[in-house]
Symmetry: C2
Subunit: 279 residues, 2 copies
C-alpha cells in the first residue's frame, strides 16, 4: 500500500514535447491533450523547412534530430514524433533518456487489434505509401492481414484550405476511397496526421461499420500504458491551468488560427505561440 | 539585301534551356516548342529539391543559379526560368552571355496589353501572391490597372493528380474564382506554370469574354522578338528531328508520363529522359 501510494504521489510537471513539419501534428496533440488534460505541452512545428515528405531520408532524420534536441533543451519529459515521414526515420524509442513515440508503430498495432476480417486500408501521402512502413509494421503484428494502400495527395491541401466539412472534400474522398470500400476493408488507418481533419468526409464513404485508426488516439494509448507502468509520470497536482506552447520555426498566422480552432474544443489550457530556431 | 540574307542564313543549333522545380514548367516548354518546332531543348526539373515556393529567397536564388550553371554546361543558347518562384529571384536578363527569360515580366506585359477595362486577375500560389511580383510588374507597365489576386492552393495538386478535365476541378475553380468573375475582370493571368493544365476548368468559370494570359505563350513572344532582332539565332536548317532532353534531379515515372502526354500533341521531337546532378 505504501508503495502504491508513493506511485500515485509521483508527479512530473515537465511538458510533453510534440513535433511535426507543420500543422498536421496538431491532430496528434489534440488526442493526447484530450486524454491527459492536466499535462503541459510544447508543440514544435518546423514550418520553415516543411514539407518533409519530399526530402531525402538523411535530411528528414537530420531535421528530426535537431527538433528533438530543441525539445530536450526545453526540458520535456517525453517526445512524440507527430509526423509520418519523420516517424519512418526515428525508430529509436528513447532520446537523451526521454521516451520517444512515433505515430506508425501505435497506429499499426491498433489496426492489427481492431480488424476482424484481416483487411486493413492505409490512407497516406505518396511518400509514406512508397516507404511501405505501415504495411510492414501491420504485418509484423499479424502477418495474415491484407493491407491495401491508397495515396490521397489532395487530402493535405484540402485540410490546409480548411475545407474539412465540404461537398468538394466529400467528392474527393469518394473518388479516392470507393475501390477500398468495394474490397471490404473493416479498418482504415489515417496514416497522415492531416487526415483526421477530414474524418467526416472519409466516414461518409465507408459508413459506420468500418473502424478508423487515428494516430493521435493510438499514441495517446501508448503514452497511457507508460504512465500506468510508471515509465513516465503524470502531472498530478495541477494548481494552475495547463500550458501549451506552440513553437514554429517560421511565423504563420494561418497556423495560429487553425491550431487554436482545433485545440479549443478539447482543452482550456493557455495557448502561447512563439517563433524559434532549432539549428 | 545581302545583309538580310546573311541574317536569314545564320543558324544556331544549340538547345534552349528551360528550368523549373518540377513539372509545371513543361507547360512553358510546350508553348515555346509549339511556336519554334525546329528548336532543340533541354528541360531541367529540379525534382529532388521541389517545391521552391516554401523556401527562402536566398535558397531559391542559390538553387536557380545552380540550375542555370548546369544548363550553361550543356551549352544552351538561352535560358527560360519556367517557374514563378524562381522568377521572383532571377531578375537578370543575361547569364554567362546567354539571354535569360523569366515568366513574370512577359506575362505581366501581355496582361497590361490585353486588358481593356483595366481590371486584371492574377491566379497564383500563396507564395507568389504574397511576393506581389505580378501586381507590381503589371502596374509598372500601366499604373491605372487594378490587379486582383487570388491564391488557388488546390490547383497544383489537382494538376499533379492529372484531374485536368474533371468535375471536381470545375467545382474547385468555381469556388476560387466566382468573386473575381463578379468583379468584372477582363484579363486573367495564369500566374503559376501548372495552371494552364486547368485552363478548361478556369474558362468554364469566366466564360469566353475574358482573355487568359499563359506565361508560356508570353515567353514565346519575347523569344520571338529576340529571334527577329537577331539577339538570338534560330535553328534554321534542321536536317534531323529536333531533340528534347528532360533532365530531372530525382527520377520520377509520374513526371515522364505526364510530360510526354503534354508535349506529344505539339511536337514530333525525340524526347529523352535522364537523371542529373546540378550541384
Amino acid at each position: 500500500m505504501a508503495f502504491q501510494n508513493h506511485e500515485l504521489m509521483e508527479s512530473d510537471n515537465r511538458p510533453i514535447g510534440v513535433f511535426d513539419s507543420g500543422i498536421g501534428g496538431i491532430t496528434v496533440l489534440r488526442e493526447v491533450l484530450r486524454k491527459f488534460p492536466n499535462e503541459n505541452f510544447i508543440y514544435l512545428g518546423d514550418t520553415a523547412r516543411l514539407p518533409y515528405g519530399s526530402k531525402s531520408a538523411a535530411t528528414v532524420r537530420n531535421y528530426s534530430v535537431q527538433n528533438m534536441k530543441y525539445l530536450v533543451s526545453q526540458d520535456v519529459k517525453a517526445i512524440i514524433v507527430a509526423c509520418n515521414t519523420a516517424s519512418t526515420q526515428i525508430i529509436e524509442t528513447e532520446f537523451e533518456n526521454r521516451p520517444v513515440y512515433n505515430v506508425i508503430d501505435p497506429g499499426s498495432f491498433l489496426a492489427s487489434q481492431k480488424t476482424e476480417n484481416n483487411k486493413v486500408a492505409v490512407l497516406a501521402t505518396r511518400a509514406t505509401i512508397k516507404a511501405g512502413s505501415y504495411t510492414n509494421k501491420i504485418k509484423s503484428f499479424k502477418p495474415e492481414i491484407e493491407v491495401f494502400s491508397q495515396a490521397c495527395p489532395l487530402f493535405v491541401p484540402l485540410a490546409e484550405e480548411g475545407w474539412t466539412d465540404d461537398p468538394i472534400t466529400n467528392l474527393v474522398a469518394f473518388r479516392y476511397l470507393q475501390n477500398l470500400k468495394t474490397l471490404g476493408v473493416d479498418t482504415v488507418v489515417l496514416g497522415c496526421t492531416h487526415y483526421p481533419l477530414l474524418k467526416n468526409s472519409i466516414e461518409k464513404v465507408f459508413g459506420l461499420y468500418v473502424e478508423m485508426v487515428d494516430s493521435g488516439e493510438a499514441v495517446a494509448l501508448q503514452v497511457e500504458d507508460d504512465f500506468n507502468s510508471a515509465k513516465l509520470h503524470r502531472h498530478q497536482f495541477a494548481n494552475e491551468k495547463p500550458k501549451i506552447t506552440i513553437a514554429l520555426t517560421d511565423q504563420s498566422e494561418h497556423f495560429e488560427a487553425l491550431s487554436s480552432e482545433l485545440l479549443r474544443p478539447v482543452s482550456n489550457a493557455e495557448i502561447h505561440f512563439e517563433t524559434v530556431s532549432v539549428i
